[in-house]
């Protein structure tokens, strides 16, 4: 069995006319790792995927698999399994023939093909569906066929291009976990592309957040969430309260509106900083207290989501455990946040 590989991209750039789809992207994916590339549409993530798969040639930079450059190699010779957004199953071939396709292309012997197709179909729990045509399958089943087809030939790398976009929420969650399980079990080096930050957090070892053709931050999921590198990452991943200000004293930030916050940061005095407070990190008390009027309140089952208008024009998004009655609009409440829970960047 072929070993899963390590992928390196260095300085990849690609322009389409005036637009830089990729503007010097470098990253590394370790053997067996699942890296998510997260970004809004137009951020360059799909172009990056195409560069890895070989459908686009970068203007500059290189791609290496296990230290061997593949930048100029045609897609057919890269040994990369890929699942497309709409699965791209061959509509005229049965499930069995779809999954056998990459093996046939590699001139694998007939009995071997039969064995490995059965194995792959069992892996995605589709045994018994061999003779169906793609259009006779549900979306989730088509997804599994696409997955089986992408892994049946033991690719060195698995690429998943927004594969869950077309599924409903429940099915999506099931499939996410299933893909995760499969990927771990096979130890497949995987790049997963999505614009859905929640999905990114569920699935990944590490996440690379992309915007405007560059990688904004590449880190573990907790790192990305708790300590985003900039406004974009903070804003794109999860709900957030972001303010800007200056370090007025060690451990103290003065926001643009004049309000001071106690924080934990070793940034030197006078530095311009950004401040991130996650809505769920607010409590009833703490070192930093805010009093505000509820201008919006939503009941979310396990929590309340409140929007508060505070003194100095500050507007806060706060999540509180759903205990007691839902605060009414117009009510004045007090919340606090601990300096530890404030991220300064």
């Amino acid at each position: 069995m072929q070993e899963s590989a390590e992928l390196r991209i260095e300085g990849a750039a690609k322009r389409f006319g005036e637009v830089a789809a990729l503007d010097g992207v470098s990253l590394q994916v370790a053997r067996g790792e699942l890296l998510t590339i997260l970004g809004p549409s137009g951020s360059g993530k799909t172009t990056l995927l195409k560069v890895v798969a070989g459908f686009e040639k970068p203007d500059a930079g290189w791609v290496k698999i296990d230290g061997v450059e593949i930048t100029a190699l045609p897609p057919a010779r890269r040994d990369i399994g890929m699942v497309f957004q709409n699965y791209a199953l061959f509509p005229h071939l049965t499930v069995e023939r779809n999954v056998a396709f990459p093996l046939e292309m590699r001139n694998v012997a007939k009995p071997e093909i039969v064995r490995r197709v059965a194995e792959a179909l069992a892996l995605v729990e589709l045994a018994g569906y061999e003779q169906r045509l793609p259009r006779q399958l549900s979306g989730g089943q088509q997804q599994r066929v696409a997955l089986a087809r992408a892994i049946v030939f033991n690719p060195r790398l698995l690429l998943l291009d927004e594969p869950f976009g077309a599924l409903d929420r429940k099915l999506r969650e099931t499939m996410q976990l299933e893909v995760r399980r499969l990927q771990r079990r096979l130890g497949l080096t995987t790049i997963f592309i999505t614009h859905d930050q929640e999905e990114a957090l569920v699935l990944s070892d590490r996440v690379a957040v992309m915007n405007k053709g560059t990688i904004q931050q590449i880190a573990t999921t907790t790192e990305i969430y708790e300590r985003p590198a900039n406004d974009f990452v903070a804003d794109f991943v999860g709900e957030s309260n972001i303010f800007h200000g200056t370090m007025s004293a060690p451990g103290e930030v003065t926001l643009e509106g004049g309000r001071t916050l106690k924080v934990r940061s070793d940034k030197s005095a006078g530095a311009k900083v950004g401040v991130l407070m996650r809505p769920e990190r607010f409590d009833t008390g703490g070192a930093n207290l805010f009093t505000g009027d509820v201008i919006e309140s939503v009941y979310l089952g396990t929590s309340f989501k409140l929007r508060l208008a505070c003194a100095g024009g500050l507007e806060l998004l706060v999540r509180q455990p759903a205990r007691g009655p839902l605060p009414a609009t117009g009510a004045r409440i007090e919340v606090g946040i601990d300096p530890k829970a404030i991220h300064v960047f």
């Binding site: 005229h92 396709f101 292309m105 030939f153």
Partner: protein
């Protein structure tokens, strides 16, 4: 079909009724003049007419074959090239449809004649010594008919290739298929419907040709439409003309039905 869905089709159906069904029924009536099948017996019994029917089908089949041979790659290229080249392709492919049959035919005479452009080039280049007989024979008819019918093959093929999801081709490529195998395993089976549509149109249209074969075939290539036209305009034997037409129509429907069977979506096991 619900009645609500049926109403928008009414004008088209009326049109079909008055301009197709009604004349065909009248024609059938003509052919059974005096309640006898004598004219059918003549159409199907006499060697002359059977041979011309056979010739006609043979020519139509060959024309279809050559249209496919030329039209598939052409339609394929046009569907996969840049929009600019596709437009250029369209203009050249559609040009014969915008030219009158006589102009087109005389153009072929200028090109393919014994002293035509093509033969002179070949002789000057020393490739042949005597001019090739490209005109006033079967070859001439083939060239002329394929030329004018090519668009009917190219357009459905073009459409079929364009309808194909590019991701499917990319998927095949990513899964390790060479260009050759992508063509045989993906493009060809998935554009079969376009091929059949084009082939049926070309075949059926070929059956009715008579000016091109008369002019480019030197009079030797006789298709059934020539005889029908003779019966209508010269000998004024309308019942016989109707019988010949009805036989042609029946054959055509048979071919069409056969083609339909093949065009069923391929359920490859």
């Amino acid at each position: 079909m619900s009645m609500r869905g049926f109403w928008p089709a009414v004008p088209a159906l009326l049109l079909l009724f008055f301009f197709f069904l009604f004349p065909v029924v009248r024609m059938l009536g003509f052919s059974l003049e005096g309640g006898s099948f004598d004219w059918y017996a003549k159409a199907l019994g006499e060697g002359l007419y059977l041979r011309v029917f056979w010739n006609t089908f043979e020519i139509a089949l060959l024309v279809t074959f050559f249209c496919l041979l030329l039209g598939y790659p052409l339609g394929f290229l046009m569907a996969t090239t840049t929009p600019l080249w596709a437009t250029v392709g369209f203009i050249f492919v559609l040009l014969p449809l915008w030219t009158s049959v006589l102009v087109r035919t005389y153009a072929w005479m200028v090109l393919l004649g014994r002293n035509g452009v093509f033969n002179r080039l070949l002789i000057d280049a020393g490739i042949v010594e005597d001019p090739l007989p490209l005109l006033h024979n079967f070859t001439g008819v083939m060239i002329g008919m394929v030329h004018v019918l090519l668009p009917y093959m190219v357009l459905p093929v073009y459409g079929a290739v364009r309808r194909l999801d590019p991701a499917i081709v990319a998927a095949a490529e990513g899964l390790g298929a060479s260009s050759w195998r992508i063509f045989w395993r993906i493009y060809l089976p998935l554009t079969l419907n376009g091929i059949f549509a084009g082939a049926v149109i070309v075949f059926v249209l070929s059956l009715g040709f008579y000016i091109t074969p008369a002019l480019l075939g030197g009079g030797r290539v006789i298709m059934i439409a020539v005889l029908i036209e003779q019966q209508v305009r010269e000998t004024l034997n309308w019942p016989f003309a109707a019988a010949l037409s009805a036989v042609l129509l029946a054959f055509t429907f048979a071919v069409y039905a056969l083609a339909q069977r093949f065009t069923r979506p391929q359920e490859t096991a």
